[in-house]
Amino acid sequence: MQIELNGQTVPLDRTNEAVPLLWWLRESQGLTGTRYGCGEGACGACTVHLGGQPVRACLTPCDAAADQALTTIEGLARNGRLHPVQQAWLALQVPQCGYCQSGQMMGAAALLARHPRPTDTQIDEAMAGHLCRCGTYDRIRAAVHHAALLLAGGSP
């Protein structure tokens, strides 16, 4: 078994089959950008993309990712260039403490892949499972719109 992790093929040890992706990423792969917040899929801080879909790494066992493409926040930038979502997050200074923001950005990137020009309602629905205790929601909404413009090649 193997996983295509951020574009690299990584073998998956059988002893890890039932281990949640979150701990495999953090411990075995040294990718600590995927964060532990609740362990029950309630906060969204551990969101990664599996086969292009956003999933909660704390609830997804490694074997569910076998032979699939797995993207983490560390793999969102391509060829040294930040993903438009990351660019927007920087431009609008979205983070406060920042702990939830890896998951927020992964959620936003997945939303934009489905809906390149989302409405506020679509943003609120797609991001409803991402908690931010600092209260950065207003900027998240604005940054998703900003990223949509960047994706479309426009200057916001």
């Binding site: 411990e27 917040g37 029950e40 983070p95 406060q96 403490c97 702990y99 950065t136 929601y137």
Partner: protein, 734 residues
Amino acid sequence: MTPQRGWSRRAWLIGAGGVAVALPLASCSLIPPIPKRPLPTAEDAAGWLRLASSGRFVLSCPRAEMGQNVLGAVRRLAAHELGVPESLVTVQVAGTADIPRAKATVGSDSVRELREPLASACARLRTALLARAATRLGAAPATLLVEAAGVRAPGGAVLPWAALASPPLTLPPPSDATRPRPGRPAADPALPPPQFEALVRGAPLFTADVWLPDMLHAMVVHPPWRMELGPRLEGWDEAAVRAVPGFVAQLTLPEVEGVVLVARSARAAWAMRRAANVRWTPPLQRPDPMAMVDVDRALAEHSFTRDRGEIADASGAWTVDLRLDVPMAAHAGIEPRCAVARFNTGDDGPALELWCGSQDPFYVRDVMARDHGLPLDRIHVHNQRIGGGFGARAVANIEREVAFIARAVQAPVKLQWTREDEFVAGFHRPPSSHRVRVRVGADGLITDWWHALSSSHIIFTSAAMPPWMQSVARLVGDPGTSRGHQPPYATGRQRLSLQLTRLPLATGPWRGLGAGPNVLAVEAAMDAAAAASGQSPLAFRLRHLARAEAGEHLESPARLATVLRRAAERADGAPLRPAGQGERVGRGLACGVYKGRSVAAAVAEVVVTADRIRVTRLWCSHDCGAIVDEAGVRAQVEGNLAWCLGLVLSDELAAPDATPASTQLSGYALPRIGDMPRLDIDLVPSDEAPGPAGETAIVAGAGAIYNAIAAATGRRPGRLPVRPQALAVQPAAS
């Protein structure tokens, strides 16, 4: 090497092969260290800043970073004073070995307290650098130009910063020539705040991202009830725990409440926790903390911890008699606590290193010194970025646990608290119960104001203080619990009664301390008094501010009146949302002062239906004095307004059995993105000294939302969070 349950720590160390631990035993003081809160001085600040051999200025920030962007604020101040671009200054969270002792990051006072010492240190460094450059360039210091690349001589030669860095400089004493530069620091729009690039890339920043060689992973299964209530550990499934691959140890330690599990990996520690099935005998007494703070009980017993002021005819008729109960609430920062400890052998260097996210790393160091009998200079606390502080990280809990565990297993240990630990072993905003009685005279002015408040401790937190110590502290009340208790208005006669009761769950600092609930109660009563006397909420407040006297609780009534007018005007510019079928729409106003200095006012618009209360608009005018980091202050206002939604509509940690009813985030309602209304934030320009910005808007937004609900429905709910069912709005006819 399998440690057994029930062995004492010392016995276990001997059982582990008689390896001597080269540490003296902990001293036996029963008195917990008291946090020291020294104000930063110019001399301290000289130790925060240096020019590195790379040619970059390196600034060790004496305050913790937990999302308030204090790193960005001090970087901007330093760059301004040095006269160099911000991009030339590297700023980092200071560890205890980096700088002289510094005060905790609490009370939103960093910019106010750091600005002058930092400016002085920068000016002195700049003076010293110019003097050195002048000697090397053979020019008078006054003729030199400070540039991004270095110091330029009149003729055109530039001496790069790196060349000026060595040998280390001696700073001149503070003098007139080293006074802070005039002018306001300008933002560099192209430069993201410190650590933001790492945040968006998912780079390591938080304590859980720390990895040490040969590090073990621990969990503590905490008792569901505080040990002072008397729960008893019955046992756990030891064989199942031992069978987990990666098992290292399972033990109890006298200093750690709960069962300690140690593993080779985090995943194994989780598996051991799931296997442990720890069983406790509940304590006999398990009172509901909400019932314990019932204000009417305190009133009936005529017993208050503190009772100040007098009113006329306490048993007479009141214009307003409003009760408001505010439940206990969790901080619920998204980062569960984590800490890493390592004891080092050898006579040099630190004997104990600790990685944690603390709002008070120097206090943590004091606690470590007491716990392990070590001199302060042999303990290094490496403070990390905090994934949400809000007061939760102001005491030492996980830090104590991890150090005792590392000492017992003689290896570096990472201890991860689970979400359950956060609820069960953390501390919380105390519940509070308010009765505000207001009498309004024939002239429409308040003649008597009586706010009885029953709650629990905040600054004298029961998370760090044993019961006996808290009863001593009782003599002085609790300035945290009573923050915002005193209204900013002229109220004629005034009585403020405060009852403090130690609760079965630990209570302590939470964003805004008592100010959020207290000012909400004040503002709800003001609205009710305005309505009862036929006056507009704005005019009623302004009349009572115009007569208010300045004092420690309110430096400037005029500034408060100004934000009130501004917020009201901005909201008036937008028409009220028309009510749809089955909807009630209303707007409410509130204002307040935080720590006497910063003021804010807000207007909320709400739409109430039979099953939902939705805040659709929030206007907030905010005056926190001079602003260094405008984007950061704006973010703090946004965050506080989100907390206001929570305070009125969702925050509730129920504990009817003296333990949290829910220990998961899925069972604890927090505001979500779809709850966030459209915001209009108005930062009032000011040249006054900087005041608090991190907690101020919480005193305005919550009252505005509550009063908007009252305006929409005609009801003033007696308890928070407000549920739509309590408002009896009829569903739309289908």
